[in-house]
């Protein structure tokens, strides 16, 4: 099969071949030929209101499905606006392909109108990037981009396409194979190492699984469940790993780290074997590295060899895909079970007893008040409505931490947040991507009043597409997390953190043609949330919460994770 068509059309053929059903973008001068070809094509293009949000939406789409999310922007400002979204996907290992237009080849380097060195600017923001030089190489590059984005440790890949390449005629022949000589992915895991790991797991008295985004990326939830059950090991899931083991699973402790639970942090600190699965020992989890899991030997499974022993030396490094490695590991664990289980049982019983004590001693704070809505109350109500089944996209800050603590997730790919980069303005566009990916799902966008005001323009995208997203603004009138740090570490000198003049939610939503309301009475909260969920279309609920609530537990930056501040000092609370 070969026929003559222009580069724009060839690009669409390649996208269709990759199974792209919808993508997010914003047209401009140099992408005109592409958008002209798109006019006749069946792939759905979602017109967002800002390019950054196209990339966040593509990320939300990818996070909710595991499929590659696609976004598109024009040259110059369009491309530079993608940068934050690309770095977000890079930090969280999310498969995204970004297509950018570039000025005509002959003009590159001449400071042409809307020219920017996209290839140079995005080099360190992507897993890999391309600049297309001829229409003949376009199909090869597009398929390579998708392959790179989705395989190994996933990540964003950008393809920069000059306008003349979109216009040039070429014979389109579907590409049969790609050859990336230097791109090596080890998926299976070393059999000998896996055997040693299984032995070490049975011998351990106080083992713990520390599971992260790698479990989600590898779709390894079933294997993880098998593993913790068979090997009788408790598990913590990081912010990126929530849902990797269902929140209701008896072996699930909770989230560790800076705002993790007492039990999770104590268990990590007290374990004698750390089974790290698809994690990168991020500083927000480990706190002071030297004091992290100080008595533990470490088994580290990761598909990216550069992560192993990066922050913490691994005793048993295993390079591989979490799913494949766990499948093998589960077989060996089962093989050793008859001879090992009885031996390990007494140690494990004591360990579980200890963990249950920690859990009972300090569960997450869930204060209630008759006069004002506590943020934790809000999250508990959302949790009740979700029942562990809704998609919850959040922004970044206090509300994100409270949601991570208090909302349950029965499955992977329900919890969508900007973990590594911590990009404010992520929540609303990511929810848009997730809702397009999963039209059947109830999608909450839980955002703060800060991040929401970074993404208000996307209410237009939501309204225009009739997306039934339930937007919950946890409105404390402050940039809450920054305010919390100013209170705790800067003598409560609240510098540029108060956000006044929040718009009237009913009028704001109404201006876009959908419903909205504000709730500030705790007795009306449940009803307001229920009414929102009953609404068939989009809904904006502005929830006025206690302004000065802090997220606890908290490990001060640079502290050891077992040195948590568990709650506000009594004097400060009054």
């Amino acid at each position: 099969m070969s026929n003559l068509m222009n580069g724009a059309r060839i690009l669409l053929e390649c996208l269709a071949r990759e199974g792209v059903d919808c993508f997010f973008g914003y047209p401009g001068g140099v992408t005109l030929p592409f958008y002209d070809a798109l006019y006749d094509h069946s792939i759905k293009h979602v017109l967002v209101r800002h390019e950054e949000n196209a990339c966040f939406a593509a990320s939300g789409y990818a996070r909710a499905t595991g499929k590659v999310g696609v976004c598109c922007a024009t040259s110059g400002p369009g491309a530079t606006n993608l940068v934050t979204g690309l770095v977000d996907s890079l930090m969280d290992s999310i498969p995204v392909v970004a297509i950018t237009g570039q000025v005509t080849s002959k003009l590159i380097g001449s400071d042409a109108f809307q020219e920017a060195d996209t290839f140079g600017i995005t080099r360190s923001c992507t897993k890999h990037n391309y600049m297309v030089k001829t229409v003949a190489e376009l199909p090869q590059i597009i398929h390579e981009a998708f392959y790179l984005a989705a395989s190994g440790r996933p990540g964003p890949v950008l393809v920069d396409i000059p306008k003349d390449i979109f216009q040039a005629q070429g014979h389109y022949t579907p590409v049969d194979q790609i050859h990336l000589r230097g791109y090596r992915v080890t998926t299976d895991g070393h059999t000998g190492q896996i055997r040693r790991a299984a032995q070490m797991i049975w011998e351990a008295e106080r083992p713990i699984v520390y599971a992260g985004g790698g479990i989600i990326a590898a779709n390894a939830e079933a294997e993880l469940k098998d593993f913790v059950e068979r090997a009788d090991v408790p598990a913590v899931c990081t912010l990126m790993g929530l849902g990797g083991l269902g929140s209701g699973h008896p072996n699930f402790i909770s989230m560790p780290g800076m705002h993790g639970s007492y039990a999770a942090n104590m268990a990590l600190s007290g374990c004698d074997l750390l089974i790290a699965l698809g994690v990168r020992f991020d500083d927000r989890v480990t706190g002071r590295l030297a004091a992290f899991a100080p008595h533990a030997r470490v088994i580290h499974v990761d598909i990216d060899p550069a992560e192993i022993s990066k922050n913490r030396q691994a005793d048993i490094p295993i390079v591989g895909d979490a799913k494949r490695v766990l499948q093998k590991l589960n077989r060996v664990v089962a093989e050793l079970e008859p001879q090992m289980r009885a031996k390990s049982a007494p140690g494990r019983r004591a360990w579980w007893k200890q963990i249950r004590e920690w859990k009972d001693q300090h569960p997450y704070d869930s204060p209630r008040s008759d006069s004002e809505i506590k943020p934790q109350h809000l999250m508990a109500e959302i949790d009740r409505l979700s029942g562990g089944e809704a998609i919850v996209a959040t922004d970044v800050g206090q509300h994100q931490m409270w949601a991570a603590q208090l909302v349950r997730f029965n499955h992977p790919r329900l919890w969508i947040n900007s973990g590594g980069l911590g990009a404010m303005g992520f929540g609303l566009p990511a929810a848009i991507g997730a809702q397009f990916a999963r039209p059947d799902k109830l999608v909450f966008a839980i955002v703060g009043d800060g991040g929401f005001q970074m993404s208000i323009p996307e209410l237009g995208t939501i309204a225009s597409n009739g997306l039934p997203i339930k937007i919950v603004v946890m409105n404390n009138g402050y940039l809450g997390m920054v305010r919390q740090w100013q209170e705790l570490f800067y003598n409560n000198r609240l510098s540029s953190v108060q956000l006044d003049c929040f718009p009237d939610a009913e009028k704001l939503a109404g201006a876009y043609g959908f419903r909205g309301s504000t709730v500030e009475n705790p007795r009306e909260l449940a009803g307001a949330l229920e009414a929102m969920v009953r609404e068939p279309g989009p809904y904006l609920l502005n929830v006025r919460v206690t302004p000065f609530e802090n997220v606890y537990p908290m490990v001060p930056a640079g502290g050891a994770i077992n040195e948590m501040v568990l709650s506000a000092p009594v004097a400060a609370a009054q």
């Binding site: 392959y147 989705a150 194979q177 050859h179 230097g182 090596r184 060899p305």
Partner: protein, 187 residues
């Protein structure tokens, strides 16, 4: 102490920047860098001299190996390897001194490659310390102008290079999950 990193990479636009970007992003200064294509014209060999502490160096090299354009990045610092550098220097010297200079240059195995009434151009190769000495000596004869190539290095050990075989797209598109490749890592 300076270290030598040898990188085999695809001869493509941007590949050089990806490698050096890993060093500059961490604020390391590159002491020298040479790059030229190999017997396979689609590939280049790069030798980088830097000063990076050992723990971070292994991390940086792992990340270089991760780059899509890089086939193999190797730390030659503590391996048996040969390291050479070339220098071209222009010496401005009066006629009566020239015979002495040429004699001195011969001691270092250097040779004159061109000359004019103003002076001449000498080419020398050797390890970097030897070249330093040579340049010190030459400076004592008059004005010199120096261009150094930076070190190139070759390992004495044979290193296995395992490469990714071609990926068949039809199969990969039909069943992405089953088509994960199973290569082995270099470096």
């Amino acid at each position: 102490m300076l270290q030598v990193i040898s990188v085999l990479l695809e001869n493509k636009p941007g590949a050089l920047m990806r490698v050096t970007g890993l060093l500059t992003a961490r604020g390391y200064n590159i002491e020298s860098l040479t790059v030229a294509r190999t017997l396979d014209p689609d590939l280049s060999r790069m030798s980088i001299v830097v000063d990076v502490e050992e723990r971070l160096r292994s991390q940086v090299i792992k990340q270089m190996n991760k780059l899509v354009n890089v086939l193999q990045a190797t730390d030659l610092t503590d391996c048996p390897a040969v390291c050479r550098e070339m220098t071209l220097l222009r010496v401005r010297a009066p006629l009566e001194k020239r015979a002495t200079i040429i004699k001195e240059a011969e001691i270092f195995g250097a040779r004159v490659v061109d000359s004019s009434v103003d002076g001449f151009v000498i080419e020398a190769t050797g390890d970097s310390e030897k070249l330093d000495e040579f340049l010190d000596v030459m400076q004592s004869y008059g004005d010199i102008d120096v261009t150094r190539s930076g070190a190139i290095a070759v390992s004495l050990e044979l290193r296995k290079l395992r490469l990714q075989p071609p990926i068949h797209l039809a199969a990969s598109l039909a069943e992405t999950e089953e088509e994960e490749t199973n290569g082995v890592l270099n470096g």
